[in-house]
């Protein structure tokens, strides 16, 4: 066994990095605070752009990292800097001396109830993108199951691009997720009218524009350019949404049977705590601070501490996986240089 590497976080970034490090001949130690691997992707059903099953992606990765030391339901309690590396203490009592630490700590999904005006947790027919994915997975949600769903709305930018919500950044994946989910809902409820309320459509990735055109042409999704300002509930328990149709330049309102809030990607607060143990701070956007944001996004100013995935900002699954591969190589190069 070569040098110890501790990976904090068992999401896509942590798993893919572990896979690559195993292939490079290391035996990384992966700690995950929940009882399962896969991070947020484990809560999802299908992934854009090819509707790959999230479960398959996670099973595939998990199958290839069995050789790693994986501690579930375990957190980092403390990290001591030593001369040649770090002494990491875990909540399960295990103590590890390692030369490299990878913070693959991911993100928090924005708590949609903070946008009080949207009434998540108050109005019966309001849910989040994650709730909807769970319904796709389980078919069980009293907001949808057995209901006559004729009109559905998707609110983009919930907790993103919103100074008052504490997150100024674009969460990058919500536009395409909203379109994906809108099309999936149209498939399940072919008679329903589906609306997306957006400020800009930020569709930057591979085949995303094709997705958008498909949503327009085949699914007939109505795109209304305007940020939802307030939501209320009517006597029938439906939601009434107010927005401006900015293309028409007029305020608009609509009654919906279901409203889906596209909760954004915000910095993982617990991760900030963990990162501070190794003197990694946050950048001006609130996410963990890289050495620089052009060529060294996976490195930090702390020797032997690396970053991958959404710990440094919103990313898609393939972007996260690519970063994880890059970080595995960077860790390898670092360890070689230390010999």
């Amino acid at each position: 066994m070569k040098d110890n590497i501790v990976i904090v976080g068992g999401g896509i970034a942590g798993m893919e990095a572990a896979r690559q490090l195993l292939m490079l001949g290391y035996k990384p130690i992966l700690v995950e605070k929940t009882d399962h691997l896969g991070g947020h992707v484990a809560d999802w059903h299908c992934l854009f752009p090819d509707m790959t099953l999230a479960r398959e992606v996670i099973e595939n990765l998990a199958g290839q990292i069995k050789e790693a030391n994986i501690f579930l339901e375990t957190e980092v309690s403390f990290i001591n800097k030593m001369k040649m590396g770090y002494n990491v203490m875990f909540s399960n009592g295990v103590n590890v001396i390692c030369k490299a630490i990878l913070l693959a700590t991911g993100f928090d999904l924005f708590d949609a109830s903070k946008k009080e005006e949207y009434g998540y947790g108050i109005y019966d027919q309001v849910m989040t993108n994650r709730d909807l994915e769970q319904w796709f997975n389980t078919g069980d949600d009293k907001r949808i199951t057995g209901k006559d769903i004729k009109k559905v709305g998707f609110v983009h930018c919930v907790g993103s691009r919103d100074v008052k919500a504490g997150n100024q950044q674009c969460s990058k994946v919500c536009c395409i997720t909203a379109i994906k989910q809108a099309m999936e809902m149209k498939e399940r409820f072919p008679d329903a009218e589906i609306y997306c309320f957006y400020m800009d459509l930020r569709l930057f990735g591979k085949k995303y524009e094709d997705f958008y055109i498909k949503a327009q042409m085949e699914s007939g999704i109505h795109f209304i350019r305007g940020r939802v300002s307030e939501v209320s509930e009517n006597l029938q328990g439906q939601v009434i949404v107010k927005t401006e149709d900015t293309l028409s330049g007029k305020p608009a309102k609509i009654t919906l049977d279901l409203l889906v809030l596209m909760a954004g990607i915000v910095c993982n607060r617990e991760a900030v705590q963990t990162a501070s143990l190794v003197q990694v701070t946050t950048d001006s956007d609130g996410f963990l601070k890289s050495k620089d944001n052009i060529l060294n996004i996976i490195e930090t100013d702390s020797k032997g501490v690396f970053l991958a995935g959404t710990a440094t900002g919103a990313k898609t699954v393939p972007e996260t996986a690519a970063e994880a591969r890059a970080v595995a190589l960077a860790i390898h190069n670092y360890l070689v240089s230390q010999q």
Partner: protein, 356 residues
């Protein structure tokens, strides 16, 4: 509607309200609109709850109404407010309670502004000294009078003679609560329950037996809108806003509206008459309107005070059907008698809106 979700938000927006010793400042307009409300606030606080509420005849407008109507600059309003604070200091009080929502907003906004811009506070101190040789302290607590009634709502419920309940069916009355815009929209944390789901009035309604209606346009302005009413050319916007609210609450068949702002009960009351004349439409049962009451009037009714002593005959919308529903006795003959027992004149009757 998920009630627990609201409770969670309410727990996030609770503010500290001292138990006693308040310096009370009145509203400019309430004494003519709802002449008994302030009197009964003082009566309830002093005589029934045994609180020390001090007021001085030397206090003036806070300048809020003029500031919001664009007739004085904020600095003038600030100097007026500084003088009120000086009166409070001279009387030896630290807790300020305001009758008016716009005053509450005005005091809060000014204190917050001074906190951000201390140089402005220094300038106002100088203005006040030059103008009247007074000095002031910033109040330790600023509350709206409805905050106090909210705080003591269960004490009031304990002394209640009547509840907001249909005396025949035993069903809770359906109550629309309407919060003045300047209560918490500017500073959500200064209002009990925040700005989206304030509970200052809904808490009273629930404590006194009623059921709160949450209807789609609950956040909407009552229609006053200061210049939207005060400038005659804009007055159509004022009544349009009120119309929008009533159209939205209509399907819920409210029994009454409870308000905590000087303007709101006035416009929610009087515009019902105007809408009935313009559109031929009324919103209460059997051609009546929906009574729009102040929270002091509602507290007074619950405590068993005579409806005419509470000034309910001054409302445009007849309150008799509501009184009958609750089972509150009243004497039609004394409705328009003044304190000295003499007729205070009867109003003319509208053509559409049914009045008693």
């Amino acid at each position: 509607m998920i009630y627990q979700g609201k409770q969670k938000i309410w727990s996030d927006y609770q503010k500290e309200i001292p138990d006693d010793h308040w310096f009370y400042v009145r509203s400019c307009i309430r004494q003519s609109f709802f002449p008994a409300s302030e009197k009964y606030f003082l009566k309830i606080c002093r005589d029934l709850l045994g609180k020390d509420i001090y007021e001085t005849e030397h206090h003036t407008t806070c300048g809020g109404i003029a500031y919001h109507s664009d007739t004085i600059p904020q600095e003038t309003a600030m100097t007026i407010v500084a003088r009120q604070f000086a009166l409070m200091k001279e009387a030896g009080y630290k807790n300020l309670v305001t009758s008016c929502i716009t005053s509450f907003g005005n005091y809060t906004e000014i204190i917050e502004t001074w906190r951000e811009f201390p140089e402005l506070e220094a300038k106002i101190r100088e203005n006040l000294w030059k103008a009247c040789r007074r000095e002031f302290d910033i109040p330790k607590y600023v509350a709206h009078a409805s905050d106090l009634v909210y705080k003591f709502r269960d004490d009031i419920a304990g002394m209640a003679k009547f509840h907001l309940v249909d005396g025949v069916t035993g069903e809770p009355l359906r109550v629309v609560e309407h919060i003045g815009c300047h209560y918490s929209k500017m500073f959500p944390h200064k209002g009990i329950g925040g700005a989206e789901y304030p509970c200052v009035l809904s808490g009273m309604v629930e404590s006194w037996g009623g059921h709160v209606i949450d209807y789609p346009e609950r956040r909407h302005c009552c229609g006053f809108g200061f210049r939207q009413y005060l400038v005659r050319a804009n007055r159509g916007y004022s009544v349009s806003n009120t119309h929008k609210k009533f159209e939205s609450m209509e399907p819920y068949h409210p029994d009454m509206i409870i308000t905590n702002c000087p303007g709101c009960p006035y416009f929610l009351d009087r515009w019902q008459y105007v809408i009935s004349e313009m559109e031929g439409k009324t919103y209460g049962q059997n051609g009546y309107g929906i009574p729009a009451l102040t929270y002091e009037e509602v507290a007074g009714l619950v405590l068993g005070f005579d409806p005419w002593d509470l000034g309910l005959q001054i409302h445009q919308v007849a309150v008799e059907p509501l009184l009958e529903k609750i089972g509150i006795p009243y004497n039609s003959k004394t409705k328009y008698l003044g304190l000295n027992g003499k007729e205070i004149m009867k109003p003319g009757l509208p053509t559409v809106l049914k009045c008693c």
